[in-house]
C-alpha cells in the first residue's frame, strides 16, 4: 500500500502539467495575443504580433522556458472592444491560454480587463500604456511603456533646450479623447516649466480629415513649435495643411509616427519632425534585432517590423523571464510573483531595462527622442532614454 502511494506521489510530482494552470503542458506554454489584424489599423497589430512571434522563436530556439516551447495564439479584434472581449473569451475557454501578451488598444484592453482579473491571467500590456490600465493597479497586469504626456514633454524639452528662442510660440492640436488629454498634459507641463508662449490649443474629433481651418488658426497664432496630437493619416494631414500655408514649424509627433508607413505619410510635408518613444527606433540594437529576426520570420513578414514589434518582443521576453524563474512548477501565481520582482531586465538595448518592482507594476517610462531625416528617410537619435 505504501509503495503504491509513493508511486502515485512520484507520478504526480513528475507530471508538472497536473498541478499547473491552463495553457501549460510538459512541452508547451500557450500565450494569447488579441490584436488589430484587420481594418485600417491592421499594420499596428501585424507589427505587434510579429514581435511575439520573433520572441517565441528566439526563446524556443534556446530550448524554450525550462524545456517548454512557447506557442502564441493570435485573435483578431478589428480594434472593436466588444470583439476583444469575445476574442479573449475564446482564448481562455477554447485555447486555454496561460498568459496574455497582445492586448490591442486602450478601450480594448479595458474591455478585456474583467476577464483578465477574473482568470488571474499574467498579462503584459505594452501596446496601450495608458494610465487607466495601471491605475488602479490590477494584480496580474503589468504595463510596459511611457505615457504620451512624458513623450511630448521629452520632445518639447529637447526642442526648447536645443534652440531656445524668446520668439518661440508653442501650439498644440490634439484629439478630443483620453489620448488627447494625455498629449495636452505633456504640453501643459512643458509650456509652464519653460515659460514659453502658449500660442494656441486646438481640439478635433477622431476621424477628422480636413485641418485647413486649424492650420489657418495656427498661422494666425504664429506657432513655431507644434505638439501634433494627430495619428497616422491625421498627423500627415495636419502637417500637409501647415505646409500649404508655409508655416515654419518644428513638429513633435506621437510615437505611432515612428513606424515606417506613418513616417512616409508625414514626409511629403517636408518637416524634419520629432518623435519620442520608449523603444529604440534606430541604432545598433535595432540592427542586431533585425538580423536575429530573420531566423524566425519570412522576408515578407520582416517588412512589417515596427516599434510595435519591439514593444511586443520586450513584453513576451520579460514574461518568459518571469515564467522561467518558476522552474517546472509553472503557475500563474508564481509567474505574477516573479513579474512583480522583475528588475533591470535586459531588453537587448531595445529600451531601457524593464523593472516591474514598483507599486504600479509599470515599467518602460524612460523615453528617447528621435528626429526624422527627410533626405535619408531615416530616424536619428537626438536624446537617449531618460526618465521625465
Amino acid at each position: 500500500m505504501k509503495r503504491l502511494a509513493m508511486t502515485l506521489a512520484a507520478f504526480l510530482a513528475s507530471t508538472a502539467a497536473y498541478a499547473a494552470d491552463p495553457g501549460v503542458t510538459d512541452t508547451e506554454i500557450r500565450i494569447g495575443d488579441v490584436n488589430i489584424m484587420t481594418g485600417p489599423a491592421a499594420f499596428v497589430g501585424k507589427g505587434f504580433s510579429l514581435g511575439s512571434k520573433i520572441a517565441a522563436g528566439l526563446i524556443n530556439s534556446k530550448g524554450g522556458v525550462n524545456g517548454r516551447k512557447i506557442t502564441v495564439i493570435t485573435e483578431d479584434d478589428g480594434y472593436i472592444p466588444a470583439r476583444s472581449f469575445q476574442a479573449l473569451t475564446k482564448l481562455i475557454e477554447v485555447d486555454e491560454i496561460f498568459a496574455l501578451n497582445g492586448t490591442s488598444g486602450t478601450a480594448n484592453v479595458m474591455a478585456m480587463m474583467p476577464l483578465i482579473e477574473e482568470n488571474n491571467i499574467p498579462t503584459v500590456v505594452s501596446q496601450a500604456p495608458a494610465a487607466i490600465v495601471y491605475n488602479p493597479v490590477r494584480p496580474s497586469v503589468f504595463t510596459f511603456g511611457a505615457s504620451y504626456s512624458d513623450a511630448f514633454y521629452a520632445q518639447l524639452k529637447y526642442i526648447h533646450e536645443k534652440n531656445p528662442s524668446k520668439d518661440a510660440v508653442f501650439g498644440i492640436i490634439r484629439q478630443d479623447d483620453d489620448f488627447g488629454k494625455e498629449v495636452e498634459a505633456g504640453y501643459d507641463r512643458a509650456v509652464k516649466e519653460f515659460g514659453v508662449k502658449d500660442g494656441i490649443r486646438l481640439r478635433f474629433k477622431k476621424g477628422t480629415t480636413n485641418f485647413s481651418a486649424e492650420a489657418a488658426q495656427m498661422k494666425e497664432a504664429g506657432v513655431t513649435v507644434l505638439a501634433n496630437g494627430g495619428i497616422f493619416a491625421g498627423a500627415g494631414n495636419i502637417l500637409g495643411e501647415a505646409r500649404k500655408l508655409d508655416l515654419q514649424l518644428q513638429p513633435a509627433e506621437v510615437w505611432s509616427e515612428g513606424i515606417p508607413a506613418s513616417a512616409k505619410l508625414l514626409a511629403p510635408a517636408g518637416y524634419d519632425f520629432m518623435v519620442a518613444d520608449y523603444v529604440s527606433l534606430t541604432g545598433p540594437a535595432n540592427d542586431k534585432f533585425m538580423e536575429m529576426a530573420k531566423q524566425f520570420v519570412t522576408a515578407d513578414e520582416l517588412k512589417d517590423v515596427s516599434r510595435y514589434t519591439y514593444a511586443s518582443f520586450i513584453g513576451l521576453t520579460s514574461l518568459a523571464a518571469a515564467m522561467e524563474k518558476c522552474g517546472q512548477d509553472l503557475t500563474r501565481e508564481c509567474t505574477i510573483d516573479n513579474l512583480r520582482k522583475l528588475k533591470d531586465f535586459d531588453t537587448l538595448g531595445l529600451s531601457a531595462p524593464v523593472s516591474f518592482d514598483n507599486p504600479e507594476q509599470h515599467s518602460g517610462t524612460a523615453v528617447g527622442v528621435y528626429q526624422y531625416n527627410i533626405k535619408d528617410g531615416k530616424f536619428e537619435e537626438r536624446a537617449g532614454f531618460q526618465q521625465y
Binding site: M37, T38, G39, A42, D76, G78, I80, P81, A82, F85, Q86, T89, K90, I92, E93, V94, G105, A107, N108, M110, A111, M113, P114, E118, I132, D176, D177, D178, F179, K181, K205, T298, D300, E301
Partner: protein
Amino acid sequence: MRTGHFNETHSQLVALSTSRTVWGWTIAAITVVAAAPLLVGNYSLTILVSVMIAIVGAVGLNMLTGTTGLVSLGQAGFLAVGAYTNAILLSDYGWSVWFSLPMSGVVAAAISVLVGVPSLRLKGLYLAITTLAFSFIINHIILYAEDLTHGPNGVFVKGATMFGFNVQKGAPLFYMTLAVTILIVFGVLNLSRTRIGRAWMAIRDHDIAARVMGVDLVRYKLLAFAISSFIVGIAGGLMSLQLRFVNIDVFALILSIEALAIIILGGLGSIAGAILGAIFLTLLPEGLRLFFSLFANSESTFYTNYVFEIRGIAYGVVIVLFLRFKPDGLIGAWRDARKYWSNWPLAY
C-alpha cells in the same frame, strides 16, 4: 400533393400562427436553446448571448426601418444610451438590475422622441443622415459629460444580480438574455398584428395614403421611434452586462451599419428575418474562423501571412453574394424553400 393554408376567420388571419407544427418547432427550438448551458462550454455560451443581443437589437431596428419604413443609422447611439444608462445606474447609483435594465430602454425611448420630433418630416436618406448625426451628438455628450459618464475612461459595470446570481457571466447571463429575447420577440410579434402595427405598415407602404385613411403620422412615427429605441436600449443594456465595460469606442458607427446589414440580409420587415439575419451575421465570423482553422497547419506562407485579410474579404463577399442572389434575404430563401416543399413535384 400538399395544399396551402387557407384562413377562414379574422382570428385565424391575425393569429401568431394557426399551425401546431410551427408552435411545436418553436417550443422545441426554445427548449434546445434553453438547454445550451448543459450542452456547450462557456465560449459557445458567450457567442449565444451575443447572438441573442443582436436579435433584440435587430428586432428593434426592424420595427422602425423594416415595418415603418423609417431608415435609421442611429442604432449605435441608442445602444450607447442603453448601455451607459444600465452601467451608470448599476455601478454608480447601486440600482438593482431589475430596474436599471428596463430604465436603459426607457431613457433610450425618451431620447428617441427628441430625435423623432425634428425628423418627422424626413424620409429615406435624409432621415438616415439625421439619425446618424444624432449618433455623433450622443458620442460628444458622453465624452463631455464626464461627471456622469466618466468621459473617455468608460464605466466598469458591476453588481448585477438576480435571485442571488451574478447575471454578468455564464448561465445566469444566458438565461436572463434568453428571457428578455423571448419577451421582446413575442411582444413585437403581437404588436405588429395590432392596430399600431398595421398603421406602421401603412406608413411604410404609402404614408400619404395612410394619412388619408386616418392614420396619425406624427403619433405613429413617434411611437415607432420610441418603441424601437426602447428595444435597442435594452439591447445596449444587455451588451453592457456581457462586456462589463462600456466606453464610447464600443459603439462605433460600424455597429449601425452592421445592424442595417442584419435586417436587410434577414429580410426587411420580417421579425423572423431579423432573427435569422442576426444569427447569420453574428455566427458568420465564427464559421469563417472554424473553416480557416482547418488550414491552420498549412505550409503556405501566403495563407499564414494573410489569413486575417482572407477572412475579412470572405466575410464581405458572403454578404455581397447573398444580397445579389437573394435580395429578399434569408427569410425569402426560407419562403422559397417552403413553397418548393409544398408544391413538389410541381415547380409552381
